[in-house]
């Protein structure tokens, strides 16, 4: 019987505080024969490296630029790390530079932190998410306070009384945002319209100045989400294109009014399958993905950052 996963946060006040808590977390894991993975900004990696000394040799370090590009990739890094040594427990530190995230990405990050409690519950992993309490604003520190059932304090873990039910958080964060009235809207009635939509997204994406790689990723993500809408949703199927704050949004809407599982596609199918990858793949491609439904239909919003 595998010990269930743990998901703990650390609100650190200083470099020294970070190094001693994160360092003891990793050392505890290594001593018990666990594998260790650290995903963090370069400055944190350096601190931890120095703190661990010779023990650092047994730890996998990944910069947050890699592990969180885009944010949901962190799930993939976690799953791949676990899959490399089945049956061996992992201790994992996961932190990214939250200060540079856009509002849409931060909403998605809240989902990501809450969903971990459900989708990784049965995994043999101890996850520590450090938050820079000395620098981050309180609304970002609230993510730590609401999505972790334990807090690392003084080398141990205390229960977190402010932990919020993950599914309730996810449902709260699935409100539908209607497209603005000045959005460009395409109607897609047949499967051949997917290619037409790709061409429009490509042309408009280039117009707003998106980098070619970003356009490639967005084109793939839109195809996946639109294909899902055509195969599993109800007509009419619409694609709205618009700018919102610092993001460019491709918004796929279909007529399906049934509630959407907020955990759909946050992890890939467990067994290879002919389908079921669309939403997972989209989250691996674009900056943020909103999914929700109401009486106006099912809505999936794909966000990419506007240049500049």
């Amino acid at each position: 019987m595998t010990m269930p996963a743990t998901h703990t946060s650390l609100l650190y006040e200083s470099d020294g505080h970070y190094a001693s808590e994160a360092g003891s977390f990793i050392r505890d894991g290594l001593e018990q024969g666990h594998r260790a993975l650290v995903m963090a900004p370069p400055s944190r990696l350096e601190l931890l490296h120095a703190e661990l000394g010779g023990d650092a040799a047994g730890v996998t370090f990944v910069e947050d630029d890699v592990a969180y590009a885009p944010q949901w990739k962190v799930y993939r890094v976690l799953l791949d790390f676990a899959a490399a040594a089945p049956g061996v427990r992992s201790c994992v530190i996961a932190e990214q530079t939250l200060a540079r995230r856009s509002p849409a990405e931060l909403v998605d990050y809240r989902r990501l932190e809450s969903a971990i409690n459900v989708v990784f519950a049965e995994q043999a992993v101890d996850l520590l998410c450090p938050y820079d309490a000395g620098r981050l604003p309180s609304d970002l520190l609230d993510i730590a306070r609401h999505s972790h059932n334990g807090m690392r304090v003084g080398g141990g873990v205390s229960p977190n009384p402010t932990f919020a039910d993950p599914m309730a958080v996810l449902v709260d964060l699935s409100d539908v945002a209607p497209p603005p009235t000045d959005a460009t809207t395409l109607e897609c009635s047949s499967r051949s319209d997917v290619a037409v939509t790709r061409r429009t997204v490509r042309a408009r994406g280039a117009q707003v100045g998106l980098a070619p790689d970003l356009v490639d990723d967005l084109e793939l993500a839109v195809s996946e989400v639109l294909t899902n809408a055509l195969l599993h949703g109800s007509p009419p199927t619409l694609v709205h294109l618009y700018e919102e704050d610092d993001m460019w949004v491709c918004h796929v809407q279909d007529g399906g009014v049934l509630p959407v599982d907020p955990l759909a596609g946050v992890v890939p199918p467990t067994e290879p399958s002919d389908h079921g990858y669309g939403l997972w793949l989209s989250r691996q491609l674009v900056a943020a993905v909103d999914v929700g439904s109401d009486l106006t239909g099912t809505h999936v919003r794909l966000h990419v950052r506007m240049p500049g």
Binding site: R191, A195, R198, T227
Partner: protein, 287 residues
């Protein structure tokens, strides 16, 4: 209005196997365009195509199609076959329509053996009435063809030059078909060509929910002949996760010793393989 015209889709790629179409035009260049549309879209969809026409008509079609696909290659692999009317139907009235039908059956049986999903035939019918003797015989012939094609799952377009027919005959002939074949200038978004050496498939263009079924049935047809095959993706400008997932499934279902090699894999397919973790020991990536 022709009975059964509902069987004709706007897009020939997804033509129901066994559909019996016709074209009735007094302008030979329109017939040329309809033939090129039917043959070009059929080849692009991965089927084997037989064009029954005069040498000059064949030359014209090859020239026209070469703007869109590697016609020389399709001729070399036998994905595009051409034949004269006499070679297929003979030059004199057959004793029995059944003899011709037997030849048809034989051709249809060869299709799967050569690694194609289905056979489609485009035939210039200019000499049929002359050979058979009367329009009544042509109608009997077409009626038999309809049944035979349904049975053999062979689609066709019968191309009639109406200037050679009497008033009313065109309508009589049309009634024996499922509908009229279109002439469209829009070429499909992807082309699926059979390759003999190394055995497999060459894909160009975009593969998505609208056409991935066509790729998969061609790959399956090739795999049924030789379970070691190479899918050349060099010309692929887009593919989606469903396309890649099904190629993996085909590889996973290959018999012992089988292998599906993805060659010249474009960035979009690598991205999908990487992000989905889809892989199998019988699915190999050629570096």
């Amino acid at each position: 209005m022709i009975l059964g015209a509902h069987r004709v889709p706007a897009d020939l790629g997804s033509l129901d196997p066994g559909t019996h179409l016709c074209a009735l035009e007094h302008d030979a260049t329109v017939l040329d365009r309809i033939a090129a549309t039917f043959v070009g879209q059929g080849i692009a969809a991965g089927d084997q195509l037989l064009y029954v026409a005069s040498e000059a008509q064949v030359d014209g079609l090859v020239r026209r199609l070469s703007e869109h696909l590697d016609t020389g290659h399709a001729l070399a692999t036998g994905q595009l076959l051409t034949s004269s009317f006499e070679d297929v139907y003979g030059s004199s009235r057959p004793e029995h329509l059944g003899t011709v039908a037997d030849g048809f059956r034989l051709a249809a049986q060869q299709v799967q053996k050569r690694g194609f999903p289905r056979l489609r035939v485009a035939a210039r019918m200019d000499d049929l009435a002359g050979m058979l003797g009367s329009v009544d015989d042509v109608v009997a012939w077409e009626r038999m063809s309809t049944h035979l094609q349904r049975e053999l799952q062979v689609s066709s377009v019968c191309l009639y030059d109406t200037s050679r027919l009497d008033t009313g005959e065109a309508a009589t002939i049309a009634r024996e078909h499922d509908g009229l074949a279109p002439a469209v200038d829009v070429f499909p978004i992807a082309t699926f060509l059979a390759v003999d050496e190394p055995w497999g498939v060459r894909v160009t263009g975009e593969v998505d929910v609208s056409n991935r079924r066509l790729l998969h049935r061609l790959v399956l047809s090739r795999a049924a002949v030789t379970p070691r095959l190479r899918v050349d993706l060099d010309g692929v400008t887009f593919a989606d996760a469903g396309t890649v997932a099904r190629l993996r499934s085909i590889a996973a279902a290959l018999p012992e010793g089988g292998q599906l090699v993805l060659a010249r894999v474009p960035a979009v397919v690598r991205r999908i393989l990487d992000a989905t973790g889809l892989g199998h020991e019988r699915l190999r990536l050629e570096p």
